[in-house]
């Protein structure tokens, strides 16, 4: 079976922890970190990376263009 798997990369320093990506992700991949970045924001990260399908929703709603999305079709058993 072919399946889309995805991954995101968050630019931690420019992330402002707005949570919009968290909300936008259909598969609950993203959460805000407990730690803060240099600006004092709890940045977003892949809390549940396996669930990501690379749909780009998170990146689309991110006001700060912090998210790069990768996607690949993989064959699964």
């Amino acid at each position: 079976m072919a399946k889309m798997i995805g991954a995101i990369e968050v630019d931690i320093e420019t992330c402002k922890g707005c949570s919009l990506c968290v909300e936008a992700c259909p598969t609950d991949v993203i959460a805000l970190a407990d730690e803060v970045n240099g600006k004092g924001y709890n940045y977003a990260y892949m809390a549940n990376p396996d669930a990501c399908n690379g749909c780009t929703n998170c990146a689309l709603v991110c006001p700060d263009s912090c998210i790069t999305v990768y996607r690949k079709k993989v064959e699964m058993a």
Binding site: K16, V36, G38, K39, G40
Partner: protein, 185 residues
């Protein structure tokens, strides 16, 4: 008596209102006071700071270039205001998020783990009151009863139920403030 104070940190840390309470406390004590914020778009996300002067005499300028006390709550503010503390003055800071700690040896330095404490109290809003408590412990420029009066005055009526909580936070700040270095006398 004249005390010239800068309070500086991120927008959203309650910097301006801490200054306001301090100023009102001074008024309650019969002092002349000025309160002068940095203002404008920087407020959003960026830094915010306020200069408070408490004095027994008429205050000429509310904008200062040197301070008796600097209360510092983020790294940018540390970079900007550490050098502006008068020799022998006070620098009080919250180490949370600070990457370069203060280095001067001609001033008195204290730290207050206010963010951590506020997180433990599960009440981010008390953060600035903890810091205020710490400052008043180190430099009791106004009496506590006047601080409470100032608190009352600066809070809108509908928030007066929060006063006890704030009072506790001020107290707590006084308890946990830590001396870092003192000027060699």
């Amino acid at each position: 008596m004249k005390e010239e104070i800068i309070i500086a940190g991120f927008g959203g840390q309650g910097v301006l209102s801490m200054g306001k309470i301090l100023a009102y406390s001074g008024v309650m004590q019969g002092q002349e006071v000025t309160w002068m914020p940095s203002y404008g778009p920087e407020m959003r996300g960026g830094t915010a700071n306020v200069t408070v002067v408490l004095s027994d005499n008429r205050i000429s300028s509310p904008i200062l270039h040197a301070f008796d006390t600097a209360i510092i709550l983020n790294q940018q503010s540390m970079d900007k205001f550490e050098p502006l503390v008068k020799p022998g003055g006070l620098l009080l800071y919250d180490p949370n998020g600070i990457t370069r700690h203060p280095e001067r040896d001609d001033i008195n330095i204290y730290k207050i783990e206010a963010a951590e404490e506020a997180a433990q109290l599960k009440s981010a809003k008390t953060f600035n009151m903890i810091v205020l408590g710490a400052f008043l412990k180190v430099k009791p420029v106004v009496e506590m009863e006047n601080v409470l009066k100032g608190l009352k005055k600066s809070l809108p009526e509908r928030h007066h139920h929060l006063i006890p909580m704030n009072e506790k936070a001020i107290q707590r700040g006084g308890e946990i403030v830590k001396e870092v270095t003192l000027v060699k006398a």
